[in-house]
Subunit: 220 residues, 2 copies
DNA sequence: TGGCAAATGAGTCGAACGGACTATTCAGGC
DNA sequence: GCCTGAATAGTCCGTTCGACTCATTTGCCA
């Protein structure tokens, strides 16, 4: 209400002094208030608890405690603190871990100070920033994981057999399946025998598991 | 080898003539060769087949055939054609569909022509570009989907029961499990009875399915 | 039109299954 | 020292399962 613009309180966590000093200088020029510097993850967690900065610029690779774990601890102790992770390379596994740790941004270190400043301001307003390189990397991962979709309607088992399988998966016994489908137990058993052959299973448990693996039935 | 720099052949697909003309002008200024314009998805697919452009700038929302489906068809017919999707808003569902369709970039329409030009050049060299807004949106989605991690070692079933479950899941019958674990069939049945209670199952099939759902056993 | 796959039904038989009840041994915690 | 839970083992009994063989009806397609 009073309009007095309070500058954003920033904390740096990186094990390279030179990089910290460079960051401190450029972030100060961008109008941020650098209130503290930590040289490793453990120090960062402690310092964050004392200083409660608005935003932490945290390197991923640090001694004692890596940036991901440090971020997790900081967020656990004080969820209001925003953490922006800095990383050397667009490593897919690290990125996944970083995402889970609850950071508000993921930047590769070769980005400009303007980009960092933007990311800090976005983080304060609750937004998330991702370096293009990291975004693309994540995208490829998602694309890699996703394609397991096989729209080919191979239909290994017949419609009826599929119904039987789903009911079995839902917890029905042979008599119950027969009742549900208004057919005799014999017929159900015949369908099952056919299913066992087709799915290379020797009992209903294996058949259902195989069907789940093949996406023929759902687990719910 | 001859050094003659061939410009990138571009195709536009958007149902708004004005936007197409604006794009054509600015892309031409950026040195691209705009070889065609389509006003809807179906036209885009046909035209792509005839012109085989290097890159298509494809709007997501179009009459006849939406951009996602059109992209899928174009990539199916000619995987070498790169498609960059343009979208109005960072809609999560559309983004997911777009990712699956195999495009090489996803830009929100308020980005600059320089950004579009960069994305086109990246697409030609096989890279993927994502608008920051879309990246953040996707990130939130991943974060939402991921947390279901429960590292709590609740150990619903005992070690031994888990072994039995895994063997059952691997296709063993009660006698076989007994043999494998060097215990009597009776004991296996005791374990199973205990498992049924704990997992609220009434037979081995349900028990294994529940165990799979709970991540107690693996499906290979 | 002839043949083939799907869906239905049936019989027998031995093995496997699941429930109910009981029991012993052993380790860890109160 | 007592109690609990895990792991072991047993009996009895009725049900369910899966293998094997066979038969009928439908619908489709070559």
């Amino acid at each position: 209400m009073m309009g007095e613009r309070v500058s954003i309180r920033l904390m740096l966590a990186d094990d390279h002094r030179m990089l910290r000093e460079g960051l401190r200088r450029s972030m100060t020029e961008h109008g941020f208030d650098v209130v503290g510097e930590a040289a490793d993850g453990a120090e960062a967690v402690d310092m964050a608890g004392e200083l409660t900065p608005d935003v932490i610029l945290m390197d991923v690779t640090m001694p004692e405690l890596d940036g991901v774990e440090a971020t997790r601890l900081v967020k656990a102790a004080n969820p209001a603190i925003r953490v922006i992770m800095l990383t050397m390379h667009a490593d897919q596994e690290v990125l996944a871990a970083a995402i889970r740790s609850g950071a508000s941004g993921y930047l590769v270190k070769d980005c400009s100070t303007e980009e960092i400043a933007d990311a800090i301001r976005s983080a304060v307003s609750g937004e998330t920033t991702l370096s293009p390189a990291l975004a693309a990397s994540m995208l490829n991962e998602v694309r890699k994981l996703d394609p397991p979709e096989q729209p080919e309607e191979d239909r290994v088992v017949t419609k009826r057999e599929e119904e039987v399988l789903q009911l079995i998966a839902d917890g029905c016994s042979t008599p119950e399946v027969a009742e549900r489908l208004y057919i005799s137990q014999k017929t159900v058993k015949n369908h099952l025998a056919s299913i066992y052959q087709k799915l290379d299973a020797r009992d209903r448990t294996q058949a259902v598991l195989q069907a789940v693996r093949m996406g023929i039935v759902s687990l719910d």
